[in-house]
Amino acid sequence: MRLLVYILSKLVGAFVTMLGVSALVFFSLRFIPGGYADILLGPFVTPATREVIERRYGLDQPLFAQFVRWLVSLLHKDFGTSMVTQQPVIDEFMRRAPVTLELASLAMALALAIGLPLGVAAGAAPRGRRRDGLARVVGALGASVPDFVLGTTLILIFSVWSLWLRVGGYSPFTQDPILNLRTMLLPAITLAVFGGALILRTTRDAVLRVMTEGYITAAVARGGRPTEIVLRHVLRNASIPVVTVVTTYFGFLMGGAVVVEVLFSIPGVGLYVYNGLQNRDYAIVEAGVLLAAFVFVGVNMLADVLYAVIDPRIGAGVSR
């Protein structure tokens, strides 16, 4: 029951967040210089042709009326129509979501595979030891290299020497799993470097904090083996900040790792939203940001529930 109330309170918060996001994205988008008429007609746009194009897509209506119309459409599960293709944008998001999910999952798996063991090893190591120092350097380096720098470097290297991996040319997993892996590995690595560094640093700090707790000292005093202490006591107690970082990062990735998808021409939701923004195809960007917010909020809610499962005191605290 307490957990249910906790979840309900989170749902209300999520709804308010979504409403705020929808207003923010709608109005901020309209204030960005340039519109679809500029993109469509290029340098040949005239006041008369602009008026025709804006009337055609309802962009001549007052801004608030457009916003209300959009909200009403959303209530009818209509996320709008692309001005470029005249097709419902939700269909395109549905088609692209598995690509982004795959990229996000692969990047997450790589980041966890790197960050988690290194973070635990660094945190559990006595201070000043070489593996702790190495982990700190790796963490700082990974977190400070922007994805566009790393991605561009990888593209430059692998476009000259293929080395089995491919730059761009996405191939669905269901068609050719090996080719899919060859295509997705570089963008996943680009994303995983930052994610791995983030997880490494968070895990290290969390483990360090737990290692100073009295019950760890007691476990050591009882003669417990280091591996057993780490697995039974340290990991569970250090997991909450790690879960926060992992879920937040996964939510970010699911919202569309825009830069990486653009760099590697991965046909996911990030590339779709980016191109929508470039073309001022408002429905795509509005739906994209809203869906990303939805995923982000959903993943964070999942994290909140996980906290309550990991540490029942959290759920109990809310319902009191």
Partner: protein, 499 residues
Amino acid sequence: MGAALTAHAAEKTLVWGKPGEITSFDVHVAGTVASWEMYEMVYETLLTADENLKVQPGLAVSWEQTSPTSYVFKLRPGAKFSNGRPVMAADVAGSLQRIKNPETASYWSAQLGTIARIETPDDQTVKVELETPHPAFLPALAHISAAILPIQELKAGGFDPAKEMLGSGPFMVKGHKQDESWSLVRNPHYWGQNLPVADELEALIIPDDSARIAALRDGRIDFTTFENPDIAKMLGSATNIAVLPQKTTNYFRIDVNALSPKSAFNDKRVRQAMNLALDRDAINNLVFAGSTSVDYPVPAAFGKSACKSTPTYALSRDQRLEQAKALLKEAGNEHPRATLLATSADPVFAMIAQVAQQSLADAGFEVQIQQPPMAEYLKKVFTDGDFDLAISWLAGYTDPSMVIAWWNPKFALWNQVFQQDFPGLDNVLDQIKTMQDGPDRDAKLDEACKLIDDGANLLALVSKVDYVAYRSDRVKLKLPARSGSSNTFEYVAEFEPLH
């Protein structure tokens, strides 16, 4: 199963690495090359233009000019839309009327002149009567923006040009994944004998130059285009990749804001000084490694002598700099400050901007470069007129009278927010529009050039070359040596897959 595999193996497929996606399905509306390139695979025009920039048959197999304002076109027997219906005179009439309808918002409408009436005495004949002589009418019909649509289906509601493509060109659309790929198959009703050679044409949208290079190397694409003049160097020593520069009538240009009171270029003397100080040779040598050439308001590709005797082109660099400094001194502004917009959409713009910045500094200009995104740049320059200088390029089309007409802001409309109107120049340009090609028109072109140079409002820089890169072991290409309608792949129907 075995038969299906055999059939699939026998299919000849071309794979095109397309740098950009369309901005609309409507061939009569979109004003972007990325859109035109795709339309040219599917649609046809009444006339075409060859590499000598001469008008050639298209859907019209012949035509006759019966008076300075009257044209009669005979349609090609056997030309059919990909749904199997013959192309008829009503489709041509309806398409031209659609372009001229202000509700279509076609930017190409002005280039067709003023159409008084269109008659279709029979299914194969179209008569067009213009209100005033307009020799550029025929070249304007050769641009893809004047494509012939299946008007019968459009009127019946079975075809929506804003959502789909249905043309009489060599290919028809089988599938489209936005920003990802196009799948085209041969139009079984195409009139060309044994054409197209390829059964299928896959277009992969790959905006990034490096990604297209990688795709060429590993054979994912057979051919593509680049704007970057360094492409041959970037492709390195790959022996199976060839790069062909294709000349065009297009040229890079600088738009100068003569109308904004905030801009130093509000003063004609400062504009003239800027025009004189620009080192077009340096742009050619430093940005394009000498692979292109200095260009003029009347594009060099037309082989005219117009514009070459104006001070901007006739004087030496030292003489021009001396004059530029004198003009700035006279204007009381020896170190004018300006911002030069070079949209990030094309990396070549930034390269040109850097050389322009350096050459202008020699005369005393202090220029800052900004790289706004495309939509922001378009709004600042063509809608708000909120800029000093902006780099872009201008399509030269297939007749000098078409491109030079843009110097009349009342005709162009798109440059009204920054282009000063000179009634004397407008008058000359109006005369050019009605004149047939010949010595008289050449003299008028030269007269217009002098006035254009004096106004220094929209400046031609260097010719724009398109670079076609292809896998010589995978495809046999046929390319026009020169293109006047941004129709790089005009002979796509004859491209032969070798794999």
